[in-house]
């Protein structure tokens, strides 16, 4: 398969700058020398400077992403109806290590640990825009960091031994065994084997005293691969090259790490123990229960901030200069996503069109509003509906995709919409292009300076991003609304070019852009794929086509309700099964 190309411009090794500023965009186009993406699409990690968080559609058979409006060349209902039982296909799952937030949340729920022990850990890898440690092997440093975290958490937990252990550990072997069995089954997220219980009992004895023994047991459990990794293989206990159902405990963990970014609770463990989790109605009721739980309020912002590539790690230099304002921006988009998805109408369209938000602190000034008397953070505030509409006009998005100057921002805001919201990857620029910025000149706007992209080799790709980015020109580098740039009135006309029947066409400003996105099947299918990647920590493969079709169809049937999408995702074959061996990947 090949990745989608824009107007035949070949991907090439390019002498190009990250700023994406192509005033001098001329020159010959080299032949394609970089490889195509592998089957299954290509995750596009959030880099440190280039356009990040981009994603590419799955293989041609899945009919996802792209500009086809979701019609695509995907499997038919008949195809998928036949794909059951032994014919079932799903993509491969990798052995993956807990992410930083998963570790923090798990330690919180397992041991009552507060704060962020994972601060001491090397940052996560990404799969698509989402954190997932599924690729690179661990290094000695990471193993040592995990050891240090385990030792510190275990030492701190000694003081809470009476609350954590189910009985008085000083009373002897019976209690020690009970503690190891019950606590261990939570840490390992499955019942311990007899050998494991024996090994931990012996380790407890090495401690000499109950508090020491308690600490050593915790240290070892928190370093065990059964704690640190998601290692799903199914009931046979050995990996299979064909899809098999998850064990009840694996399913409980997959559910909890998806919906809570954390370990299962007792209810899920009990359902797993009774082997009563893997049926549609139980799963549906568990999803409802879990989305109503406060832990879902960790998960929903985690998805949205990564989807929109508003990671807390890099909000430009603003994070250093204005840490409080930066935190307010992250909190605003988090509160907004929770309010819409968990507490509100749940509609994808609302995320792009709502004229309310949840500002706090310095954001009021930025919005040109007075903070109401007795205001408490997390309260809904109505904004000017002619200027603000959903996540794309929130300062978090605007600031993160600002690039220090108007020109870079036009390109990067446009690319992010294309890649993260439409799932249409933009090819890198051709070789020999020397990108240079056009200096801001009094009396000109970014639009004037961008005319250079409209011709020649640059146009094929830049027409897909610049006209989107130019619609954002009403928002400055910290997300304030403005009407002039360089002393000249801003023309915020934008256009979606070659974006499928339901999106292509012109519009004015981000409010109208949001309205277009809100009604697009392309955007909805892309959002479904992004949720899939987030839930499973992997990029969809062509083998996931039928799971995705069910997801897309179910999302559409719900009028694009994200809560329904999440439920359909949990009910999908891809979620409930695992294929741990990759050799059978179809191309």
């Amino acid at each position: 398969m090949t990745t989608k190309r824009c107007n035949g411009v070949a991907r090439a090794l390019a002498a190009w700058s990250a700023a994406g500023l192509l005033a001098g965009c001329t020159g010959t186009i080299a032949t394609n020398v970089a490889s195509d993406a592998p089957a299954g699409g290509a995750p596009n990690g959030s880099g440190t400077g280039g356009p990040s968080g981009g994603t590419s559609p799955a293989g041609g058979s899945s009919g996802t992403g792209g500009s086809s409006g979701g019609a695509g060349s995907g499997p038919t209902a008949a195809d998928c109806a036949a794909e059951t039982g032994a014919a079932l296909k799903i993509g491969r799952s990798r052995l993956s290590r807990l992410t930083r937030t998963q570790l923090d949340h798990t330690l919180r729920d397992l041991l009552g640990v507060t704060g962020s022990p994972s601060s001491a850990l090397t940052p996560d890898e990404t799969v698509g825009p989402f954190a997932s440690n599924a690729l690179a092997v661990v290094t000695d440093l990471i193993v040592q960091q995990q050891q240090e975290i385990a030792a510190k958490v275990a030492l701190d937990a000694e003081a809470r031994m009476a609350q954590i252990a189910p009985c008085e550990l000083a009373t002897g072997d019976a209690c020690v065994r009970e503690f190891i069995t019950t606590f261990g089954s939570k840490a390992y997220r499955r019942p311990l084997l007899d050998d494991e219980i024996s090994a931990y009992t012996a380790l407890f004895g090495v401690g000499g005293r109950p508090d020491n023994g308690f600490r050593l047991v915790l240290e070892a459990m928190l370093q065990s691969p059964f704690f640190l990794y998601h290692a799903d293989v199914g009931p046979a206990g050995t990996p299979s090259a064909t899809p098999v159902s998850l064990t009840p405990y694996e399913l409980a963990s997959r559910l909890s790490y998806f919906l809570w970014d954390s370990m299962p609770d007792q209810t899920l463990f009990d359902l797993a123990a009774a082997n009563a989790l893997d049926d549609d109605s139980t799963l549906e009721s568990q999803v409802s229960r879990m989305l109503a739980d406060s832990r879902a309020k960790d998960m929903v912002p985690l998805f949205h901030l990564q989807w929109l590539d508003i990671g807390p790690t890099e909000l430009g230099s603003l994070a250093s200069a204005e840490p409080d304002l930066t935190q307010a921006m992250l909190a605003e988009t988090s509160d907004f996503a929770n309010a819409v998805v968990l507490d509100g109408d749940g509609l994808l369209s609302t995320l792009f069109t709502a004229s309310y938000s949840y500002p706090r602190g310095g954001l009021f000034e930025l919005y040109g509003l007075e903070q109401p008397a007795n205001f408490s953070d997390g309260t809904r505030v109505m904004l000017d509906a002619s200027k603000r509409a959903g996540v794309l006009t929130q300062p978090g998005f605007l600031v993160k995709h600002y690039r220090g100057d108007a020109e870079g921002s036009v390109v990067h805001r446009g690319i992010t919409v294309r890649e993260n919201l439409l799932c249409t990857p933009i090819d890198p620029p051709p070789a020999t292009v020397m990108a240079t910025a056009l200096p801001p000149v009094q009396g000109t706007t970014a639009r004037d300076r961008f005319a250079a992209h409209e011709t020649g080799a640059c146009a094929g790709c830049h027409e897909q991003m610049d006209p989107i980015g130019l619609a954002f020109e009403n928002y400055d580098g910290i997300g304030r609304y403005r009407t002039t740039d360089g002393g000249v009135s801003i023309d915020a006309t934008g256009e979606l070019v070659a974006a499928g029947d339901d999106l292509s066409g012109s519009f004015v400003g981000v409010v109208e852009l949001g309205q277009k996105l809100a009604t697009s099947r392309t955007v909805a299918d892309c959002a479904a794929n992004q949720w899939f990647r987030f839930a499973l920590g992997r990029i969809e493969s062509p083998d996931d086509a039928c799971s995705l079709k069910a997801l897309h169809d179910g999302f559409a049937a719900s009028k694009y309700n994200v809560r329904e999408l999440v439920t359909k995702l949990v009910l999908s074959d891809a979620f409930r099964h695992v294929r741990a061996v990759g050799a059978e990947d179809t191309q």
């Binding site: 991907r11 390019a14 002498a15 700058s17 990250a18 994406g20 970089a34 490889s35 993406a37 592998p38 596009n44 959030s46 880099g47 440190t48 400077g49 280039g50 356009p51 990040s52 990798r94 052995l95 962020s116 601060s119 001491a120 090397t122 940052p123 996560d124 599924a134 690729l135 690179a136 092997v137 661990v138 290094t139 000695d140 440093l141 193993v143 240090e148 090994a199 380790l203 401690g207 000499g208 050593l216 070892a220 065990s224 691969p225 293989v233 206990g237 790690t313 430009g316 230099s317 250093s320 220090g404 870079g408 690319i415 890198p428 620029p429 240079t436 056009l438 200096p439 061996v581 990759g582």
Partner: protein, 474 residues
């Protein structure tokens, strides 16, 4: 100021500990004495330093700057971008004009990062690794070990280590140490040190975590006998914990796909390194091996304003690390390709990389950044040179390579701005500026391998192979 910070007279409360006499488990780690108690030859050390982006170029018609030193081979003046190193001019070599032996997927920041110290290709996406290598170019990881890791894997009489890494008893607690400051999340543009094909090594980026790990066990107990008992108990406990984790890893290995064995094996290797360290007695403070100040923590997320403090702290650990023989091979990575650092302390308002591509002439600002990095490096180098070792200084026993992932800010890969500093125990004939224009940088890497004791090595990496060494260095 060159000799003002000589630490040899430092005699802290902890230094006194050594004179109290310690028992076997806490026996002083005395690498500098051989078996018969004679003063042995000081070990060779290797240090790689990375700073981001190329030398200041200009996208205007003003053209590129030429940072070539002025003068002759032995009588020369350093350009502004290296000027802070001038006091150490007699102990460095500027090989001017090298063409970087780098190539592969992605764009220059990415394959420059993956190739600069390895001489190896940055791979196309594959084997699961597939991420943004800059501007939407997708890449995998690099394809070969960096020069420091090659040296670390070997052993020999003229090398930093006399025994191989699999030997039961290691000469230092750490075979190598990778340190960094604000290096970003793992991608091909943010990693420069590779253990092997597909195996980037992440730097520790919290100076306080590095300090605690390396120097935490230096803290002297008030009661040596109690300390010994505690140390023995701790070793017994940790051995038991790690044994259990090892057993779990081996059990998990029987449950995962063969495609995941590498992950389990890497984790097992990490556990083995922890176990080995339990058998390596940690250093004891002496007049040479002194404790650095405990730095502040960098926290969870990079804070631009703290970059200078963190850089100074990380670089400041290096002389102590080498003097205490915690490792003999280290690297310090300051920021990463596409550096988002805004040098506000130099009055800048735009990030380093952003400024490197603005149309306005930013050469003065970009050179100020280069100059600033050189000054940070100088402080560390001078501290190395302030520590006496035998006839010379610690710096004389060390070889330092300072490199960057680009030649110029406009992505030319020649001339590579790099500097060699130190002596490698006389192997580096220093105090010279060499015009080695258009020669592949792989030659310099081969020379480094040879100077570190790998005499027979004539090739590195998979781009410019069998180049032999840089003959002008000899």
């Amino acid at each position: 100021m060159s000799r003002m910070h000589r630490p040899r007279t430092a005699l802290s409360r902890r230094a006194l500990f050594k004179t109290l006499g310690v028992s076997a488990a806490l026996a002083p780690f005395v690498p500098l004495l051989n078996a018969s108690g004679q003063e042995a030859k000081r070990p060779k050390r290797l240090l790689l330093v990375f700073t981001p982006d190329g030398s200041a170029d200009s996208d205007t018609s003003a053209g590129p700057i030429d940072w070539k030193p002025e003068g002759t081979e032995t009588d020369f003046t350093l350009h502004e971008i290296q000027a802070p190193l001038t006091p150490l001019k007699s102990k460095l070599v500027v090989p001017w004009g090298l063409k970087m032996s780098v190539k592969g997927a992605g764009e220059q920041h990415a394959y420059g990062s993956a190739g600069m110290f390895t001489g190896s290709l940055l791979k196309d996406p594959g084997n699961g690794a597939d991420f943004d290598g800059g501007n939407g170019h997708r890449t995998g990881w690099g394809s070969g070990p960096s020069v420091d890791q090659i040296v670390a894997a070997g052993a020999g009489p003229d090398m930093p280590y006399g025994v191989t890494p699999d030997a039961a008893t290691q000469e230092t607690p750490y075979r190598t140490l990778e340190l960094g400051v604000q290096c970003g999340s793992p991608t091909s543009v943010t990693r420069v040190i590779y253990k092997a094909d597909d195996t980037p090594l992440h730097p520790e980026t919290d100076p306080q975590a590095a300090f605690d790990r390396l120097f935490g066990s230096f803290m002297p107990p008030a009661d040596p006998a109690a300390a010994q008992a505690a140390a023995e108990q701790k070793k017994r406990e940790q051995t038991s914990v790690l044994d259990l984790v090892t057993a779990d890893l081996k059990r998990m290995r029987t449950r995962v796909s063969f495609e995941e064995y590498a992950k389990i094996d890497a984790h097992l290797a990490g556990i083995r390194a922890l176990e080995q360290r339990l058998d390596t007695t940690m250093p004891v403070e002496t007049s040479v091996c002194t404790l650095p100040e405990r730095p502040a923590s960098s926290g969870k997320y990079a804070n631009n304003a703290n970059f200078p403090t963190e850089a100074a702290a990380m670089l400041g650990l290096i002389p102590h690390i080498f003097a205490c023989d915690l490792t003999r091979i280290a690297s310090v990575q300051l920021s990463c390709g596409f550096s988002n650092v805004t040098h506000t302390w130099l009055g800048h308002t735009d990030a380093h990389h952003t400024m490197s591509h603005q149309d306005q002439d930013n050469r003065d600002k970009l050179m100020a950044i280069d100059n600033w990095y050189a000054a940070q490096l100088y402080t560390m180098l001078q501290a190395l040179d302030d520590i006496d070792e035998g006839d010379g200084t610690l710096l004389d026993n060390t070889l330092v390579l300072w490199g960057r992932e680009l030649g110029t800010t406009s992505h030319a890969m020649q001339p590579w701005p790099c500097v060699l500093i130190g002596g490698a125990q006389g192997a580096l004939r220093a105090g010279r500026f060499l015009d080695v224009s258009q020669q592949p940088s792989a030659k310099l890497l081969v020379s480094i391998l040879q100077m570190m004791g790998m005499d027979g090595t004539t090739s590195i990496g998979n781009i410019d192979t069998e180049t032999g060494p840089l003959s002008q260095l000899a």
